[in-house]
């Protein structure tokens, strides 16, 4: 045997014993507690046995050496290589067959049970069967007898030589041989009554071994025994490990000898380990486990055996007595609380069957969306796990949450609570009964001693309806003093600032610290004090003041509630707290009349009402009544005069019918004004008719009354408007007329005119137009009452429409080209009420046409008139071409010949180069033409900028000059985008409209623009849809304008938000294209009037530090252009990566637009507005307004090309 079994004392913290099992001997150090004589079966009672566990299935019981023997119990079913003997325990069923091995390891005589064959032992008289078990022990081989297959009785007693052993034997003798020495008396009986048959009472056995004869109760063969430890080589107590040779194994690691000192108390060797563990010395890898580890939850699946995991939980109060708020708990609160763990499929609460009161036991069944049992079980598990340690606190009530394992568990809990309730109810009933009895006794005894003093009643809070007015001043004073002593010990007074608000009224006070600490609000207290007549709650910096109109009510409230009322704290602990009030009583002042007045702060009205009115007799009464009546009569008369006489009289008098002359006068004035207005409108229209496109681009503001672009509010200062008007007048009328240009506004309206498909439909269209006009007039009449300004606007609209008709007619005449018809039309126009300006315009037109006619008409004069004007040229540079141009007819040629002959040049010329003269002339002319063509083409390509002659290289190739920097000034003459001319910026127009064909015909840029803007151009034809709806657009715009006006009127002020809203409707179509200023530019696709919104600058809204960071990053990544637009100090709009096309708008020192910051919805937005009228295809620019850079190197050059260009952006 190389091991041993140790039985250890139970560690206080440890659970069941886990004795280390080794095959072989059992070792026990438990020898001190089993003192006494007789049957000392060690730990064979049921409970202790259950605590013993051996992995191999048997238990080891040892008797100390002083008690003669020890026993090993082995479970019948166990199969072990050790000593497997079954032994019937005391508590076991006697009928149960067990096997027992008596083994005294300390016996002097026997230590060597080497091998046992399975033989049946003689049966115990009580039915116990004894059997042998074969045990093989190598270590004990030395104790074997020579015969290996000897059988030995298990009931063999090993007699020790010591006295103790003898005692033990003697005691065991009473067991009558094989029987278990459990009961001496029983054994004796067995001896008497049962004839013991010894099965192995044979000679063979008796002679060979030490054997106690059961009959004689003596050991046999004692003489043959010998002490195996004569030399005292082995210790008397303890184990000895021997080598197979029978020698002591001293040097072997596996064999150790243990000396057992019976007097030495046993020590748990693990304690040492525990200490080591706790001190972290020699710590093992395995952690010390104070409790058994819980196996992790295993999900339930199809392979799982047994019932599915429970998805139900039980919630019940921890301790009913502590949960005072339990009554306030609603089922829904519990349900809602546990909803967070998972969906609940079933919720049930149970009531007490005795009184139908809730038991506050809840059954909650969780479910899962997909009916997965694991999910619902997990929800239940989590609900339990969450509240495992700290419990569940719902609304200040403590609950316990457990998994519902079975129905019995629920019933058990329910019964427990029902019992508790029953017990309580019985107890309370008993108490009540007792109290009633006491009260009866007391009432009978103290009936006469009930307090009758009102003051004491009030102080005790019993009297609430006490009329304080009945009390005398001194009584009140005393009462108040006593109340203050009790409820206002700190002598708290009302703050001065609310004293006037409250008045001299009683109030209760709660400090702000208390309220703040517990998070109590005014509403909480209002709810709690709802049964009292509280006048108002005043929250003050010092606390909450609860004002009562009635002092008695305040006293009643404080007596009943102060120190008794509880409110759940909203602080950290959420417990019920007791509220204490401080009573602030009104100041008592002796009243002059009615004795004493408490509330002196009441107003004068109350005082007057209190005034006594005594009437001694009827006369007094009548006089007083008469006085009242007279006073009332005076008031009534005054009211009548005011409301019934003067008011209606004034209103009636103000009727204009009463003043016919004034009305007539006003009408006359109005008619005059209208006439004046008409004339002004007419003159304005005439001016507009004669406005050229060029002027329109720069200055397109028409007459003051006809500024349709001002309808939505002007943004330009009147000064600027005036300037434009001045410039407008500077331009000659004839020039505009000659160029056949019109104001831009009319181009907008020309859409309507171009609706005309053929000239023949003019009349009908006009009639339609007139009818519409009439409708509008009707509208105007209807809206006359609204406002005079609106009326004016309508008038202007009408006038505009009239002008449109006239324009239409004129254009119509021009297009059909029939002069006669045109004149007729003009005549018809003259019949119409037109203004002198119109006539001037028409006269000018006629004159021009007449001039054209006169050129070709034959003239009859007295003197010869030169048909051709003198073409004077520089005589120093006479070329063939100039000569050819100058000589118009035969006469000129004849005169030239004469001159040449006179100088003798003519003949010489004829002689020398007669044959090649024509060719030479052709050659010269051809080269001149080519040069002109090149120059013109270049001129057109560069939009009127001549090619700089310095860039032409005469003679050698320019390549021979190597590389050199061409100045920007020269670049502009051959690079269109470097062109420095400012007006007009018409890049898109050029690229779109000017092709090679247009270049061929030699037409210049203004003409091209003019052509593109002609009303019958294809562009307008394409946009026919818009043309048709132009009138409707105007109508809708007008309505929209009215809405805006209404909004403005409602708001009261003109906000920019409104302006943005209305202008959003008129967002302008824009596009981007290569710009002459810098890279890309933004161009408008339709004419835009001044002050109109064009586009919003859209981009990422970032903060200033971010913008700085981004700027650096952009520069690093090579993005040279800056698209960062600062909104204010903190915000920047970055359109570099994300943004609208407004970012393409370039800077210009003379900008066409301006950027405005407009707040929309609390956010600042950048909106680009037109500063002036902008022509179609014109590039949009605004002033970047960069800060001036001091460092010249960092200054950015400006290429805007404006006349007043500063040269730098910053």
């Amino acid at each position: 045997m190389s091991g041993y079994n140790r039985r250890l004392p139970q560690h206080p913290r440890a659970g069941p014993y886990h004795s280390t099992k080794y095959s072989g001997y059992s070792y026990s150090s438990n020898n001190s507690n089993n003192s006494g004589s007789g049957d000392n079966l060690n730990c064979n009672h049921k409970s202790s046995r259950s605590n013993y566990h051996n992995s191999s299935g048997y238990r080891n019981y040892h008797v100390s050496p002083t008690q003669s023997y020890s026993r090993n119990y082995v479970h019948p079913s166990s199969r072990s290589s050790g000593f497997n003997k079954n032994y019937p325990t005391v508590s076991d069923n006697p009928s149960d067959s067990s096997h027992v091995l008596y083994h005294s390891h300390s016996s002097t005589y026997d230590h060597s049970f080497n091998s046992y064959n399975n033989n049946s032992f003689p049966r115990h008289p009580k039915g116990t069967r004894y059997s042998y078990y074969e045990t093989r022990s190598q270590n004990m081989g030395s104790f074997q007898d020579s015969e290996p297959s000897r059988y030995q009785q298990s009931s063999r007693y090993h007699v020790d030589t010591s006295a103790d052993l003898v005692n033990g034997i003697s005691s065991s003798k009473s067991a009558k041989s094989q029987s278990l020495p459990t009961n001496h008396h029983a054994d004796t009986l067995a001896e008497d009554k049962i004839n013991i048959v010894l099965k192995y009472d044979k000679e063979y056995f008796n002679t060979k071994y030490h054997y106690m004869d059961p009959k004689t109760n003596k050991l046999v063969n004692t003489n043959d025994f010998h002490n195996w430890n004569k030399s005292k080589q082995f210790p008397i107590n303890g184990f000895v490990n021997l080598t197979p040779d029978g020698k002591l194994a001293h040097d072997s690691n596996s064999c150790k000898s243990y000396m057992i000192n019976p007097k030495q108390p046993s020590v748990d060797p693990r304690e040492k380990d525990v200490n080591l563990y706790l001190n972290k010395v020699n710590r093992t890898k395995r952690k010390y486990q104070p409790a058994l580890a819980i196996i992790g939850r295993v999900s339930y699946d199809k392979y799982s055996i047994g019932p599915p995991p429970s998805s139900e939980i039980l919630v019940y109060p921890c301790n009913q007595s502590d949960n005072s708020n339990l009554i306030n708990i609603l089922d829904i609160s519990i349900k809602n609380y546990f909803k967070k763990f998972g969906p609940i499929s079933h919720f049930e609460s149970y009531n007490d069957p005795n009184n139908a009161l809730p038991l506050h036991i809840y059954l909650i069944k969780f479910t899962s969306l997909h009916e997965k049992i694991n999910d619902s079980a997990k929800a239940a598990y989590m609900a339990v796990k969450r509240h495992e340690n700290k419990g569940c606190n719902i609304m200040n009530c403590h609950f316990k949450v457990v998994i519902k394992k079975n129905q019995e568990q629920l019933e058990f809990i329910k019964e427990k609570f029902i019992e508790e309730n029953t017990r309580k109810s019985k107890l309370s009933a008993l108490k009540l009964k007792t109290n009633q009895t006491i009260v009866k006794v007391n009432s009978s005894e103290k009936k006469v001693n009930l307090p009758t003093d009102p003051r004491s009643l009030i102080l005790n809070g019993k009297s609430v309806d006490l009329d304080l007015s009945k009390l005398s001043f001194d009584e009140k004073h005393k009462l108040f003093r006593d109340l203050s002593k009790e409820h206002n010990r700190s002598n708290k007074r009302m703050p001065f600032d609310i004293e006037r608000i409250v008045g001299n009224k009683a109030c209760l006070f709660i400090s702000i610290n208390f309220l703040g600490h517990h998070g109590i609000t005014k509403e909480d207290l209002a709810y709690k004090l709802r049964q009292y007549k509280v006048a108002r709650f005043i929250r003050h910096s010092t606390g909450l003041y609860i004002i009562f109109n009635d002092i008695g009510e305040a006293i009643r409230c404080i007596n009943r509630e102060s120190g008794k009322m509880t409110i759940t704290s909203r602080g950290y602990r959420r417990i019920s707290i007791i509220v204490r009030f401080t009573l602030i009583l009104p100041v008592l002042i002796r009243s002059r009349f009615s004795g004493y007045s408490i509330d002196l702060s009441n107003n004068e009205k109350e005082k007057s009402e209190e005034k006594e009115t005594l009437y001694k007799n009827q006369q007094d009464l009548l006089r007083a009544a008469t006085k009242y009546i007279l006073e009332d009569l005076k008031d009534a008369l005054t009211i009548d005069i005011r409301k019934r006489i003067i008011g209606p009289s004034v209103f009636d008098t103000l009727n204009p019918i009463n003043f016919p002359d004034l009305v007539a006068k006003r009408k006359l004035e109005e008619s005059k004004n209208e006439a004046q207005k008409q004339s002004n409108i007419a003159s304005t229209n005439a001016n507009m008719l004669s406005t050229s496109l060029q002027d329109n681009i720069n200055v397109s503001t028409p007459g003051q009354d006809m500024d349709i672009f001002k309808l939505y509010g002007g943004y330009l200062k009147p000064k600027d408007v005036h300037k434009r008007r001045l410039s407008h007048h500077l331009h000659s009328h004839s020039k505009r007329a000659r160029l056949q240009l019109e104001p831009m506004e009319h181009f907008l309206n020309d859409e309507f005119n171009s609706r005309e498909p053929t000239p023949t439909t003019y009349a009908t269209e006009s009639s339609i137009h007139d009818s519409e006009e009439e409708e509008e007039v009707e509208e105007v009449e209807e809206e006359e009452d609204t406002s005079s300004s609106q009326e004016d606007d309508e008038v202007m609209e009408n006038a505009e429409d009239e002008d449109e008709d006239e324009d239409f007619k004129l254009l119509h005449n021009e297009f059909i080209g029939d002069k006669k018809e045109s004149i007729d039309e003009i005549e018809t126009l003259e019949t119409m009420p037109t203004t002198p300006e119109d006539e001037v315009q028409l006269d000018g037109k006629l004159e021009r046409e007449k001039q054209d006619l006169d050129i070709y008409n034959p003239t009859e004069t007295d003197k010869p008139v030169p048909v051709y004007e003198d073409n004077i040229f520089d005589k120093s540079q006479i070329t063939v071409e100039t000569l050819q141009e100058t000589i118009k007819d035969e006469e000129d040629l004849r005169l030239l010949k004469e001159v040449l002959e006179e100088f003798g040049v003519y003949q010489a010329a004829n002689d020398t180069k007669n044959k090649l003269i024509e060719y030479e002339l052709w050659k010269i002319k051809n080269s001149i033409n080519i040069e002109e063509f090149i120059e013109e083409t270049h001129f057109k390509l560069n939009e009127g900028i001549p090619f700089d002659q310095s860039l032409l290289w005469e003679g050698d190739s320019f390549k021979t000059h190597g590389f050199f920097k061409v100045p920007d000034r020269l670049k502009s003459c051959y690079l269109p985008h470097r062109r420095r001319i400012h007006q007009p910026l018409n890049t898109v127009s050029h690229s779109a409209n000017i092709g090679y064909e247009s270049l061929e015909d030699g037409s210049n840029t203004p003409v091209q623009r003019e052509e593109s803007l002609k009303p019958d151009s294809t562009e307008n034809a394409i946009t026919g849809q818009e043309i048709i709806s132009s009138r409707e657009n105007r109508a809708s715009n007008r309505r929209f304008q009215q809405d805006i006006e209404a909004q403005k009127a409602a708001i009261g002020t003109e906000s920019e938000l409104l302006s943005l809203n209305q202008l959003n409707k008129r967002r302008k179509p824009v596009t981007f294209a290569r710009s002459a200023i810098h890279n890309w530019g933004l161009y408008v696709l339709e004419p835009i009037a001044a002050n109109e919104m064009i586009i919003e600058y859209v981009g990422e809204r970032i903060r200033q530090p971010v913008s700085e960071m981004r700027e650096k990053r952009y520069l690093k990544s090579g993005i040279g252009s800056s698209y960062l637009f600062r909104v204010d100090e903190n915000n920047v709009i970055d359109a570099t990566k994300k943004g609208g096309i407004a970012r393409f708008i370039n800077h210009c020192c003379e900008p066409s637009c301006t950027a405005k910051i407009i707040k929309v919805g609390g956010k600042k937005r950048i909106v680009i507005y037109a500063l002036r009228d902008i022509a179609k295809n014109e590039e949009l620019t605004y002033d970047y307004k960069f800060e001036r850079e001091k460092d010249d190197e960092e200054r950015l050059p400006c290429y805007c090309g404006a006349p007043s260009c500063k040269g730098f952006l910053n």
Binding site: E606, E609, E610, E612, T613, L614, Y615, K616, N617, Q618, D620, L621, L622, R623, A624, A625, T626, K627, Y628, I629, L630, D632, L633, K634, A636, L637, T638, D640, I641, R642, I645, I646, G647, S649, V650, F651, D652, T653, L654, N655, P656, N658, F659, L662, V663, K665, R666
Partner: protein, 144 residues
Amino acid sequence: MLVQNQVDQARELANQFKKQGHFDKLKSEILSRESNIKTKENVTVPGSLETVLKNVTTSIVKDMVSKDEDLIFKNRGSTSALLEAQLLKDDYKKFGEGKNGIELNRYLQSCINDPDLYETIYKELAQLVSKENIIVTNTPNNSQ
């Protein structure tokens, strides 16, 4: 039998007087009777108080309109309210302006203080008291 201890008996009696129509009767009588109101120059203006007031008001308004013609072309309601306020200001001060101005306030005061009127009311009240059989009690009236 009325036993009135809680409210002012005189006030109650006055209310009773009003309820029976005597009050309105008196008022309409004052307005409709020949006023004999005199101007500052001690010229008696014929007609009842109502007529006189209407005439005076009309003349004053016309005078105002003559000064500012726009008054009739503006919103009549608001303009009349403004003019009315002008007339009522400072105890009908506007009525007293000019040669033909009348002291309306003084006239009203004289009407109220008229002993005949007092006597009339007194008698009416006495009749009322006797009719209703009101007993005068000497208990102090306290509305509280």
